[in-house]
Symmetry: C2
Subunit: 434 residues, 2 copies
């Protein structure tokens, strides 16, 4: 349990704290403090991801049909490795589609969204690996792995992105107790990757094509690739049989997005992140929480926003450019003393007009200090109001970068600020065609 | 520990769950599940509010200067009363200004923000009560309450909004052991409320004006009202000596916003909420968490968004109008079978153009079903693509409410949807003046 500052986050403190931290702060209300050790003897644990609580929540609330995103903290009793963007308390960003639908349509949408996010964030080249648990299980079956060992074998295959095949093989034979033949057979399959061509090839595979599960999986995989072709994103999608995902609850398609190039200049600082997004289909999870076992098929994706932020922070650090932490459009400033009242009145007018305005919380700040604050924080405009401006009924609007100054009639100030700052964006056309 | 659906929230599941809920879902990763009972024997508790964790976080990160808002869940081991908008797990929305600044400037900004929020939400008439802990303590002192009983007396005064003075008085004399004279003396003061006039009156008060703390508090209160006058919001602010706030950590100005009228038609359903926002100055809290006891003065406000949502849900229920849960601008629909591909291609084009588009996750949905879906969910437009439209290179755009239909050249569809939906808002002027 630890706090941290991440790009774009404000320091907001931890969710759980030592009890004594909260004691003696709430007067008579202290009895309402929610201690975790003893909730009527219940053993509680913090969520590990957003998927299981989501599934449980659908079951509890009898929701059979929903599409939603969720950005929130999850907790791992892990050794933090901040340089690799790993924390004990960190944000995840999930997107899930729950409901009984026609095959692979929501699944394709999830991949489209991952593709869109990673493209828009310009994180460099990336690859989305796709596989299907049914295909993996089919492979295990035709390789003679007993069904009881499917899940644990899966966890081992999952390590292929971190260790070479030989080590994975020896873990299979050693720890997991598979026969060397089974391991070698698996090895032949899990080292394959490609696209529609590979799917077709495996559909013709004498062994695999005989396995019901594998055939189902391959059929859906083919369908998925057709949809992804229509979405125009197959260029960055790879059907990769080594992808296993370490979680038990997946039942169908699984996927994982990895960044392909890191900035290898200044090795010292460079953030080594592997997977930045992952997910898949979990059709059985909701049923596990429903008293009557009613199933709600789900497919979802989790975006590793903390890792993505680590990379972006890295980029920014390298580029040396400053990141603004506020959207403040204008600083209300005064050039002489005894004008706090004037500042308060003007900023209030700007706030009421919907302008994002700030002022220094000092009675008589020096003008230089006020201008310096804009330089430091990246506020683009300064609205200066002094004796002269007050008598003339104007405000001196100063552009911080160019230092250009122009007097604006006070009643026109808000519009002028907007005119100078608001990117007219796409709604320009709509405006102009009015 | 319980989930609920609130207006505008998606069902996202709880943060903490029984351990068994999480078991057998994460394969080899299960060892990372963060159990709460035994973190090295640490006794953990969930945050009661956002203020204490924020203060702790400033101390831990040595932050001496920040302004931030935070919307997150807090936890109370309370008996839920959903009709009154009280839950064990609920959202709070806090805004705080931390740092050493000139007197009452940030404090006034907090009240301005509360005033703005409650006005914009149109929750009906409201009143913001303001008081100062130093004034209250001054009152206690001049009434002969021993300093050791200030905090507990404060908690009792705080109950004045729920029980009549006589009951509060007897709790003071009975449970809290104040002398009847002290209680009566307090009674004379805490039943006073007004504006600048009352402040002036108390500054002349023979007893109170002799008390250093009270004088400080009254001086700042006068300053505050001057600033609030410049903000033009004194109309809804009342200096009310009965306001105490039950929390220990306040050191200066305190405030609380209450709604004045409830909908008393259909008593059955009407939500009775009292306070919808509250806050104050807490200059000592950060120091309590700093190893060296370094102080960071803070003032902040907490908006009771759940209570506010209860009222809004109530209003909506009463009005009978439907609330949209999505911002979807257009549904991509097909009139004949075997056009799933066409839908996927078109929706992908719209997504890439930044349009919020949906489609039914079915291979061959009936057109009627697709139109019905728009009626149910409030999607304003339908982009219909059939054989004819495909050959003509157009899309039939249908307005759900008017049923008007018009063919749009496919490449112009995104702009047309935007033109019809995007409120040109204030940026119109800026556009037109380009």
């Amino acid at each position: 349990e630890q706090t941290r500052l991440g790009m774009g986050f404000r320091p907001n403190g931890c969710l759980a704290s030592p009890q004594e931290t909260l004691m003696g702060k709430y007067g008579d209300n202290s009895k309402l403090i929610y201690e975790l050790q003893d909730q009527g003897g219940e053993l509680l644990a913090l969520r590990y991801d957003l998927t299981v609580p989501f599934a449980r929540c659908l079951a509890m609330n009898k929701i059979t049909n929903i599409k939603r995103y969720h950005i929130a903290k999850v907790y791992r009793r892990d050794n933090p490795a901040t340089t690799r963007g790993r924390y004990r308390e960190f944000y995840q960003c999930d997107f899930d589609i729950a409901g009984q639908f026609d095959s692979m349509i929501p699944d394709a949408e999830c991949l489209k969204i991952v593709h869109e996010i990673l493209s828009d964030l310009q994180l460099g080249d990336f690859l989305i690996k796709v596989n299907d648990r049914r295909i993996l299980n089919g492979v295990f079956a035709v390789c003679g792995v007993p069904e009881s060992k499917f899940i644990t074998t899966c966890s081992t295959v999952d390590k292929l992105d971190k260790m070479p095949w030989d080590d994975v093989r020896s873990e299979m034979v050693g720890e997991k107790g598979l026969s060397p033949e089974a391991a070698d057979c698996i090895g032949e399959y899990v080292q394959l990757h490609g696209g529609l061509d590979l799917i077709e090839q495996l559909l013709q595979d004498p062994k695999l094509s005989q396995n019901k599960l594998a055939k189902e999986g391959l059929g859906d995989m083919k369908l998925l690739f057709e949809y992804l072709t229509l979405f125009g994103i197959t260029g960055k999608i790879s059907f990769d049989l080594s992808l296993a995902r370490g979680l038990d609850y997946y039942t169908g398609v699984i996927f994982e997005a990895v960044l392909l190039q890191q900035e290898n200049d200044h090795v010292e600082e460079s953030v080594s992140v592997g997977s930045v997004a992952g997910g898949g289909r979990y059709d059985g999870l909701v049923g596990m929480f429903d008293p009557k076992g009613r199933k709600v098929p789900c497919v979802g994706v989790s975006i590793g926003i903390e890792r993505i932020f680590s990379i972006m922070e890295q980029r920014v650090k390298a580029s040396g450019e400053k990141v603004r932490t506020t959207e403040t459009q204008v600083l209300v400033a005064t050039p002489q003393k005894h004008l706090l009242g004037a500042r308060l009145k003007l900023i209030s007018e700007l706030w009421d007009a919907g302008i994002k305005a700030e002022m220094l919380y000092k009675k008589d700040p020096k003008l230089l200090k006020q201008l310096q604050y804009c330089e430091d924080t990246g506020i683009p405009l300064v609205a200066i109001i002094g004796e002269q401006e007050l008598t003339d009924g104007v405000v001196k609007l100063r552009v911080v970068t160019t230092r250009e100054e122009v007097n604006i009639p006070r009643e026109k100030l808000a519009d002028e600020i907007r005119r100078r700052l608001e990117p007219c964006s796409l709604s320009v056309q709509s405006c102009l065609t009015l």
